[in-house]
């Protein structure tokens, strides 16, 4: 049956199971929005295209399925760029649909014409320029497949206006032909045996669990492997939730702001098992001194990650879940008691230094705020964040028991990600508790989306850590720039009034005594709520591995007279 290109776009979305899209209309995409009214697809109008792509990303990360956003040509499409790069760095399956000027006008600098496929070439997994309606069905089928398979990532489809208006025969293809795209599944059998032998020989093994664990849905396989081989599990920022925080083998987060004992375990390890992670500089510290006595096994679906940052002894290229299913039966059960006891010792020392052990002096510490938030939500909330100190505190002090609960911009470190990604997370999980932990800097990059939250009646709770600084940069200035606070003091509006002006009930907490009922207030108030915590201004995130230092050369929290005395 003949349909217009705009109808075909919507047909394809329905075929792919898309129920909600995030977007912003404009001249070159109007036919698609117009046709959407006749399809069972809910369009969420964000207040900026960047919010739309972040929301699609949040949707994708909490479901593992594709998130979709739509924007018009030119500035609409370029406003997506930061969000596309964010999704690319964190391997998030996002489909971006953009309008483009009519095919015969391309290259002529027509109104709102920008070479979007050119701009997004290095920040998409793949992209398409569609110049006629008859290409659409095949392109959409391929795009969804590419976005969600292998190492997932964003795919952009730029659709010329004529391709939206003209008619073509619609028949959604059942199969696609991509001769150059066959994601690996099983790793090489010989290499699996080599790996099993190494695992058998190791005395001080550590698993490094990354985003790949969640992406391939390998949580249970990871737990079984770790328990069989008695191997503790360190997690990357995006790997949090791979194994429950309360699991005896969980070492929490590794890296620049990871747990000290976790980094010590990695540095003293004799075998690193990297599962779906890519040895980012934020988790390795200085490469020359990284885990110097450890052999390395790297399980990774993207062959270009092998030996990119860290040379490994055994590369296992394949889907992590499949590889774990293949290798767990051929490894022998192990007894690593001695190693686990050593780690326990380090852990006790770490905990003794922790700010959570400090006596209550009525001062409002961010760590206490997050702990309180964690306890009151039973560790069961979806938590999205912006980027900076508040993000690290959320990662350190919220104990994630489940996967797909912590949604944060890791690789790109994109400020402003928190509120819009929470919007996407809520649409994917309307029955779950969804919180965004924001800093006053990050929040001011995307607080325009409060209007979207209210318009959609999204039940999102906002926990705002306000320390009147761009805190992470301030912290670097304190440590490495002689406390010269260049461009980091930041003011904001009266967040409570602002929030109320948008129609969002709000509450302010200024001292630890007031913390008591704040989270309950948010939980008991239907719809969106904002809680602003005015915390200690010049607090730093500890521990911290300075850029370029070895992973165990951490700046630790100073031991002061305040150390737990009672």
């Amino acid at each position: 049956m003949k349909k217009t290109g705009a109808q075909i776009v919507n047909e394809c979305l329905v075929q792919e199971g898309v129920k909600v899209v995030f977007g912003y209309p404009g001249g070159a995409i109007m036919p698609v929005h117009d046709a959407m009214l006749d399809y069972p697809i809910h369009h969420v109008l964000t207040r900026h295209e960047q919010g739309a792509v972040f929301a699609a990303d949040g949707y994708a990360r909490t479901t593992g399925d594709v998130g979709v956003c739509i924007a018009t040509s030119g500035p609409g499409a370029t406003n997506l760029v930061t969000g596309i790069a964010t999704a690319m760095m964190d391997s998030s399956p996002v489909i971006c649909i953009t309008g483009q000027v009519a095919a015969h006008l391309i290259g002529g600098d027509a109104f709102q014409e920008v070479d979007v496929t050119g701009i997004t070439l290095p920040i998409t997994k793949h992209n398409y320029l569609v110049t006629s309606a008859d290409q659409l069905a095949e392109v959409f089928k391929e795009a969804f497949f590419i976005a969600r398979s292998g190492r997932p990532g964003p795919v952009l489809i730029d659709i010329c206006k004529n391709a939206q208006v003209e008619e073509a025969e619609f028949d959604y293809p059942k199969e696609i032909s991509l001769p150059g795209y066959k994601p690996p599944k099983h790793a090489d059998m010989n290499l699996l045996e080599d790996a099993a032998k190494m695992i058998g020989e190791a005395k001080r093994p550590v698993i490094l669990a990354g985003h790949g664990v969640l992406m391939s849905g390998a949580m249970e396989d990871l737990r079984l492997f770790a328990e069989k081989t008695q191997t503790p599990v360190a997690m990357t920022l995006l790997g949090l939730g791979s194994i429950p925080a309360s699991h005896p083998y969980s070492l929490g987060m590794m890296g620049m702001h990871g747990e000290a004992y976790c980094n010590q375990a990695i540095q003293n390890s004799d075998l690193l098992l990297a599962f779906g992670m890519r040895f980012d500089d934020r988790v390795t510290g200085h490469l020359r001194t990284y885990a110097p006595r450890a052999r390395k096994i790297h399980v990774e679906i993207d062959p270009s990650e092998i030996d990119k940052n860290v040379e490994v002894d055994v590369p296992l290229v394949g889907d992590l879940k499949t590889v774990l299913e293949d290798i767990t039966p051929i490894v022998s059960p192990k007894d690593n008691e001695e190693w686990l006891d050593q780690i326990k010792e380090w852990r006790e020392e770490t905990e003794a230094r922790d700010i959570l052990s400090w006596p209550d002096e009525e001062k409002l510490h961010s760590a206490h705020v997050i702990r309180d938030f964690w306890q009151k939500t039973g560790g069961d909330s979806i938590v999205t964040t912006g980027v900076g100190q508040h993000q690290m505190w959320a990662a350190q002090y919220y104990q994630f028991e489940q996967p797909y609960k912590f949604i944060t911009s890791g690789g790109a470190g994109t400020m402003g990600f928190g509120l819009p990604s929470a919007l996407g997370a809520w649409f994917a999980n309307p029955d779950k508790e969804v919180w965004t932990v924001e800093g006053d800097g990050s929040f001011q990059m995307s607080l325009n989306e409060l209007a979207t939250v209210v318009q959609e009646g999204a039940n999102i709770k906002i926990l705002l850590i306000n320390n009147s600084y761009l805190g992470m940069v301030r912290q670097w200035q304190e440590f490495f720039f002689d406390k010269r606070y260049a461009a980091t003091p930041i003011t904001g509006p009266d967040f409570v009034k602002l929030s109320e002006a948008y129609g969002v009930p709000a509450k302010r907490v200024t001292k630890s005594g007031d913390m008591e009922n704040a989270i309950e207030f948010a939980q008991n108030t239907p719809g969106p709520v904002l809680i602003e915590y005015q915390v200690e201004k010049e607090e730093s995130v500890y521990p911290m591995v300075p850029a370029g230092a070895a992973l165990d050369e951490m700046i630790r929290r100073p031991i002061t007279q305040k150390k737990a005395s009672s």
């Binding site: 070439l121 320029l129 690996p184 993207d302 062959p303 092998i306």
Partner: protein
């Protein structure tokens, strides 16, 4: 040392741009890049010569596979191959010197494809070394213009080149240097 890779890619618009963009994005230096048709109209073939520092060729290969349109990559370095480069060289000669240039061209099995009153165009196909040898000998006459196609390469017989990337696009690596188990 230089590495010669061949990449079979889908013959679609923008694929050359994707490959070129990848090299820039990952900071790879290419010595030469040649694209052309193959026996299959849906597939183009690229011959890429890269300067190999450390792991470069292997990393280039793995990254090429990240492109959806790249079907196969093989490393022909140190393998039994035929490699050819084509050059057109315009040399400044008067009537007196012309015979000398023609003589040189004959020795190199090159051809004179154009003769003008004060110049000739020499066409030569061969390995890089051969072409560079002729260029060196023609230089004293005065080279007015030169154009080279860059290398194209093909394995002799029916053996494939070396594939470094395990698990890439369904191909198994036939280079097990990665494994260092004792």
């Amino acid at each position: 040392m230089q590495h010669t890779l061949i990449a079979k890619v889908e013959n679609k618009p923008g694929v050359l741009n994707r490959v070129a963009s990848l090299f820039r994005r990952r900071n790879f230096n290419i010595e030469s890049l040649n694209v052309g048709q193959t026996e299959n109209p849906d597939i183009s073939r690229m011959t890429i010569v890269v300067e190999n520092k450390g792991n470069n060729a292997k990393i280039v290969e793995a990254n090429l596979y990240k492109l959806v349109n790249v079907i196969d990559v093989q490393d022909l370095t140190n393998q039994p191959t035929v490699t050819r480069d084509l050059a057109l060289i315009k040399v400044k000669v008067d009537a007196i010197k012309r015979a000398e240039v023609v003589n040189l061209a004959n020795i190199f099995r090159a051809k004179i494809v154009d003769v003008a009153s004060d110049s000739v165009i020499v066409e030569i196909a061969g390995t890089e070394e051969k072409i560079e040898g002729l260029v060196e000998l023609l230089s004293p006459f005065g080279i007015l213009e030169m154009v080279r196609t860059g290398q194209v390469a093909m394995m002799r017989g029916d053996s494939p080149g070396v594939r470094h990337t395990p698990g890439a696009n369904g191909h198994q690596s036939n280079n097990n240097k990665n494994t260092k188990v004792n």
